[in-house]
Structures are given as C-alpha cells and as structure tokens.
C-alpha cells in the first residue's frame, strides 16, 4: 500500500472514530459492549480474585472468631443502613398512600451477582457475571449491604454492566438525614434536614451536590458525617431512604461563593466490591452463591 493511500485510510479511521465518539448515542454502544465484555472475563476475573487475595479480603459469609469485633461492627453498620432505609420508606409511604408498590426489605427482591471486573477506561463502572437470562435489564437498581451502588446499564451474553453512583454523569435526587437518639432515649430516629440536593457523580469514588446555596445548608445544619439518602420518584419505593453516602466536606464553590459544594462519599469503596445485589423487582427464588451466604444466627 502506498503511503498516500495509507494516509487516506488512517485519516478515514480517525474521522469515523471521532464521529462515533461525539455523535453515536450511548445505548447502542452499551448493547454492543455487553455482548463483547465476556471476551475479557477469562483473564480479568482471575486477576480480580488474585488482587482480593493479596489484599487479604475475605469472602462475604466467612466468620472468624478472631475478627468477631470487626464482624459485629459490620453487622451493626448493615443494620443501621437497613433502619435508615426502612424509616425512609415509611415516610415515603405516608406521602404515597394511594400507590401500591413493592415495599419492605429490598433484599427479598434482589439477586446477588459476583463482580468480575471494572471499567478499563477509568470510569466508575463494574462488570458482573450476569446475563439477560437472569432477568437483568437496563435500569435495574443495584445495591450492597451498605446502600445504593448504581444501576444496570446493559446486560449481555455473559456479563452485565453497572454504572456506579459515583460515575461522572450519574444524577439522583436525595435528602440529607441524620440518625440521632430519640428524645425519650428509646432507640434512634431518622431526622431529615430539609434540603433537596441533586447528587451528581464526580468520578474517582466521589459524588457532589452543587444545587444548593450556603444559606440553605446552614439553615439545615448539614455537616460532615451526615447521611445522604435516596429520595427520588424514579427509583422503586423499596429503595427510598436507602443510603447513598456520607457527607465528607461542605465548602463554597470557587467561582460562585454564594453556592455550596458538598462532597459525598459512599460508605464503602464501590470499585472494590466483590459482590452486588441487583433489584429484579420480584421475590428472589434463586439460591445465592456460596460466597454470599451469611452465617446462621445461633438460637
């Protein structure tokens, strides 16, 4: 091939790729990738297992007496997340008393899937070993024990892609909340703090809220450590009140000092997850994988 003809061919390739990058919608691209993802699994998944073994991560469900205090703390955190979720649902059900939707523990309507890998392009996304035959569809919410993880974007022959809540361009409505002791000292109550934040994924494991001004946040007394819970009518009722993350930082925006920037982090590193639960919307009948079985309660 002469150099002149090669130059034409190469420039045509660049032009076609640039056109795709800027003009092709996301959905057809995700469908194509969902069919191709399985090609990378045979090497990517063992690599992920090796990394987890090197980091000393244990499978969910293993119980080690020497780590009992840590297990107890994990269980307490999981129960707190469930409590926040349940209280949020009750609030939402009061507002939607005419609607009849699935409610209760979201795990009853979820199936667990193993994470096979992440996004090689630096985006906050996961690949799970799941297929359309498992009943997965684009748009299904994804959870873990500590809160919301993201949404399914495409399900293919052997894998499904999940966009994490921390991914750039992921938007969800929420509410600031705080678990505090009841005045009568009997247990805890969930107190909403009055703002209506729009949570936006920023990449790098973080989320941000930039639609509130400083006065609103000061009036609601939002501070680091407060929770951000799901409050979005586009999500199922059973997930209302599920934890999205914790407030890490509250500051003024550099260019617009009247407006605030709240940095929120999920309670667990989402890119390091080894298993997630996809809300399929009907009572789960499939037995979970061995790795996800919780130890049986004694007595």
């Amino acid at each position: 091939m002469t150099r002149f003809r090669f130059n034409h061919l190469f420039l045509s390739l660049l032009l076609v790729s640039a056109t795709c990058a800027f003009l092709v919608p996301r959905e057809p691209a995700d469908l194509l990738r969902a069919q191709v993802d399985a090609v990378f699994l045979p090497v990517a998944y063992p690599v992920r297992l090796v990394v987890a073994a090197v980091r000393g991560e244990r499978l969910v469900g293993e119980f080690d007496a020497d780590r009992a205090p840590a297990e107890a703390r994990e269980e307490i955190e999981r129960l707190r997340s469930q409590l926040v979720n349940a209280l949020g649902q009750i609030d939402e059900m009061r507002r939607r008393s005419a609607e009849r939707e699935l409610a209760g523990d979201a795990r009853k309507y979820s199936l667990p899937f193993r994470v096979a890998g992440g996004d090689p392009g630096g985006r906050d996304a996961l690949l799970v070993q799941a297929t359309a035959r498992d009943g997965l569809q684009a748009g299904m919410p994804v959870l873990n024990a500590k809160g919301v993880v993201g949404r399914v974007t495409a399900a293919g022959a052997m894998t499904a892609r999940i966009q994490l809540i921390t991914d750039r361009g992921f938007y969800v409505s929420g509410a600031f909340a705080r678990l505090q002791k009841r005045k009568d000292g009997q247990g805890e109550e969930l107190v909403r703090l009055g703002c209506s934040p729009l949570l936006e994924g920023m990449g790098g494991g973080r989320m941000g809220v930039t639609n509130l001004n400083i006065e609103q946040l000061e009036g609601a007394q939002v501070r680091p450590g407060d929770l951000l819970i799901l409050d979005d009518p586009d999500w199922p009722l059973m997930l209302q009140g599920a934890v999205l993350g914790e407030v890490e930082q509250v500051e003024r925006q550099a260019r617009h000092l009247q407006w605030a920037r709240v940095v929120v982090r999920p309670r667990v590193g989402l890119m390091q997850l080894r298993e997630v639960m996809v809300v399929v919307g009907k009572p789960a009948t499939a037995a979970p994988p061995v790795a996800s079985r919780q130890p049986r309660a004694k007595g």
């Binding site: 992440g118 996004d119 090689p120 630096g122 790098g204």
Partner: protein, 175 residues
Amino acid sequence: MRWWTVFILGYVTICLQQGLAGHLDWRGFSPNLVLPVAVFVAINARREEGLMGAALLGAMQDLASQEALGLYTFSYGLAALFMVRAQPAVYRDHPLTHLVMTLGAALVCGVVLLFNQWARPLLHGAATHTRPAILPVLGSAVYTAALAPLIAWPLVRLKRSLGLTKPRGFSSAGA
C-alpha cells in the same frame, strides 16, 4: 510487526486493567495501563504499523470501556501521529523516553476526553451538563506516565517476539 502477538498483548493488558480497576487508584486518579503499550508500539514499529497498531489498541479499549465508543481509537491514533514523527529523535528503549512520550500521549488523550465531556452533552441535548473535571485527567496522565517505564521494561525484552526489532540496514530517516 507481528500483529497477532501485539493483539494478544493488548488483550492481556485490557484484562489486567479490568481486573485491577479500582485497586490501583490513588487519591481518585486511576492509571491507564493500555496507553504505555500503545506508545511503545508507536515509537518502535514502522510508521504505518505504529499508527494502525496504536489505533487498534484504542479500538480494543473502546469495546471494554464505558467511555464514548471511538474515543480511545481517535485519541490514540492522534497521539500516535505525533509519536511516529518523533521516532528518529528518541532513544526507543530508554525509560525516560517512555515516561515523556507517555505523558505527552496521555495529555493529548486527556484533551480529547475533556472536549468530549464538554461537547457530547451539548450535541445530544442532555438536560444536565457536568462541567469537565481537569484535575482528575491531569493526575491520571501523570500517574500513567509514572508507570510507563515499569510497563515498557518487559516489552523491551519482548521486542523480538513482537516483531519490533529494526532489520539490518534499516534507516530511521525513511520511517
């Protein structure tokens, strides 16, 4: 250049990137393990093979990544255009060459990525528009460049297997 060997190298690198995703991050910056491989191919192969090899590695990464389809093909091809022109002026096996060339390529890719983040919502009429974040892109470019000598070190030893050694009587001026 042996195309099948380079293809397998690209496949393994992308699988490693998928398996290690999230575990190599540092302060929100994630490295791109495929880019040093594309840079290595671009500076060691003949001009046409280097250009096409870099673009095809980008195409493979496009199929595995969540970014816009075609973005890595375009950005790796664009970066390769600069790298093949620099072939006569660089020591191809030196770690500093790999670091500097990877940093340059990562910055070119970063500019394309940021422009895509800005322009794509406008072209598709998105209701919400996220401001492109420059710092994560810069940080990831530096992180990737720092890892480039480590990634290129075994590749230098595999040059014969990859078919990237110079034949006798080869004149770099004609590349």
